[in-house]
Symmetry: none
Subunit: 193 residues, 4 copies
DNA sequence: GATGAATGAGAATTCATTCAT
DNA sequence: GATGAATGAATTCTCATTCAT
């Protein structure tokens, strides 16, 4: 096993433990044990616990960002892109509950992540790009783009949290109901009643 | 100072520290120091750190629930109730950032709160009641009530997180834009385009 | 046993261990064991190892300063004062070898004591006062007072180190030979040959 | 670079680090980094940290011994030899502060050097030889030769320590004042007043 | 010759909790 | 009610040393 492989193994073990006990209550000893190496060896791969957490989060975050963008560009309308992206978010999160949780743990920690939204920059940028596109071509409401972006993000995250607790709710009907709500939120004509 | 007053003082000190360092990295000694009492005395008021965290969260959660429901019943339509409730959420959170953060910290912790959504039961119940009312009287979409409830909750939470980082964004225009989006999400006629 | 007594007990235990193994190779665990308390209790009395070392050194240094000055003021001539002081230095060091060694260990450490001579300020000041007195009343050489002071201090310290390794050398004859040398070093009339 | 050159490079790096952090708080890793080699390679050149310290000290000590004896034999009187030696000591120490400090660190350590004076054998022997010569030919006092030797050594060492902190004090006047004191200490006729 | 990888032992320090006073 | 004193267990991190390659 080479350096990178061993490092990934440690990251994998860390992810599992962090999800079970949280970042702070998981000790380096716990991680070393789970990875089948000594504590000292753990420090050979990561300079400190903070550095390990950083890398673990980066690993999970990057997977998430990539998964969410998959196939989005091929959709034609901005609305279709948002919906595709939504499906990606949920699919990825449902199939990677541990990685998703790492992101939540990291984001929630006042110690490791001071600015919750700052540390999700790429996410916000990717969504906002679609929002701006939708506003420019007249698909979307006149609402400020930060608001549309934030609303979309909150919608998606919360739906995921719900589905995580009751996975059986995730099916094509649910997805359709979600897109209907997204259209209501974003489409120019909607909500003026 | 009587028992309850002193207890509240400890809770206040805890809230501040928990926000700065997180639940796990704040020690009982830190709290005792901040409250101006000895560590041993702290244990006179709270059986354990877990119990203290529990009470601190309960304190914050209850304030939040009460603040969010304020005046909601007096609104006529379900939509108006949701909007009123939304304004309450944001107003309360903006004026009580520490208490709001405690809720986030608690909810995010896999140790103290296993089921994130379960520990927000009242919240969900209160929202769902309005949602059901709206569906019954034909105001709202046919979407499953759990979805409407979840979407509303995610929308509100995320908007707050954004406003927390940029408080100047919170004004009447923003509120109007939010209600427009909420109508789009919930109103029967919207988003069918 | 009250706080101060227990603290002194810890200092005593520390002195012994530091002499045997040096400052850095004596662990807080070693000290706790020797003092018959737990490591955590040790930290109740001293904030850190550095603080403990500081206090241990201060304790030893103060004893030394006091012992060396004993009876010096009652001597008439500056030369007699220097000789009396010399006898004090040797007597104290011979009867307190551990405390003397602590001073050497501390002074020699680039970590704990950056400026060796600075941390012996009182010593130098006490000697220099006598030197200046001797120069003013014409007893001593015209040599710079820093030189006389330094020479005296070096002389005394090294004699002690020798006597420590061969204690049987310390007797009245030796003392007389020493005073003869001191007179040679300091007296105006001497060394001009 | 051959074996010896590389070894000397390691010794050089060690000297610098030992002076900054002391013997015990300098790690083999620190030294390897400073020498630009891996920790494992370091063990190719030195069997253990103790062996490295031993060699580093020996290196510094030998330089010191050689420098101090330079030209001494060519002086005629024992007194001139002592003075020449004194100048050598100070000159060497001032131009090799790191090497001098290594000797102090080593001598002060109860772990590496149990008998401080024993480990300076050559020094003592070299000085005592001159002292005996001076006593035999009637130049020096009748004082025991160990005392004269020790006094000389202490005088020289302490003057150096002072000059190290204030190098500007070292000039020809100071040297003359020192020789005057040495004469006072050693010359038969002096200090009998 | 050189080094990446590994580790057992141990370092300083902290923590939640207890209890006699 | 309040606290000084105490501690076992755990935490992060380091160190000298080894060995297969």
């Amino acid at each position: 096993m080479n350096h990178t492989e061993r490092k990934n193994e440690i990251i994998e073990a860390s992810i599992t433990l962090f999800c079970e006990r949280g970042l702070d209550l998981t000790s380096m000893q716990d991680i070393a044990n789970a990875a089948g190496i000594s504590k000292a060896t753990l420090y050979f791969y990561f300079d400190s616990k903070a550095a390990l957490i950083q890398e673990v989060h980066q690993h999970c975050y990057q997977m998430d960002v990539d998964a969410c963008n998959f196939g989005v560009e091929q959709e034609k309308t901005a609305m279709d892109k948002l919906c595709r992206r939504f499906r990606n978010i949920i699919s990825y999160s449902m199939s990677h509950p541990r990685e998703s949780m790492i992101e939540q743990l990291y984001t929630a920690s006042p110690v490791y992540c001071g600015m919750p939204l700052q540390c999700k920059k790429e996410f916000y940028a990717d969504i906002e790009k679609i929002v701006l596109e939708g506003k420019e071509n007249g698909e979307f409401k006149e609402s400020p783009s930060w608001l549309l972006t934030t609303a979309y993000y909150g919608f998606a995250c919360q739906i995921y949290l719900k589905l995580k607790e009751e996975p059986s709710l995730w099916n094509e009907d649910t997805f359709n109901a979600c897109t209907k709500m997204l259209r209501g939120m974003f489409s120019k004509c909607a909500g003026v009643s």
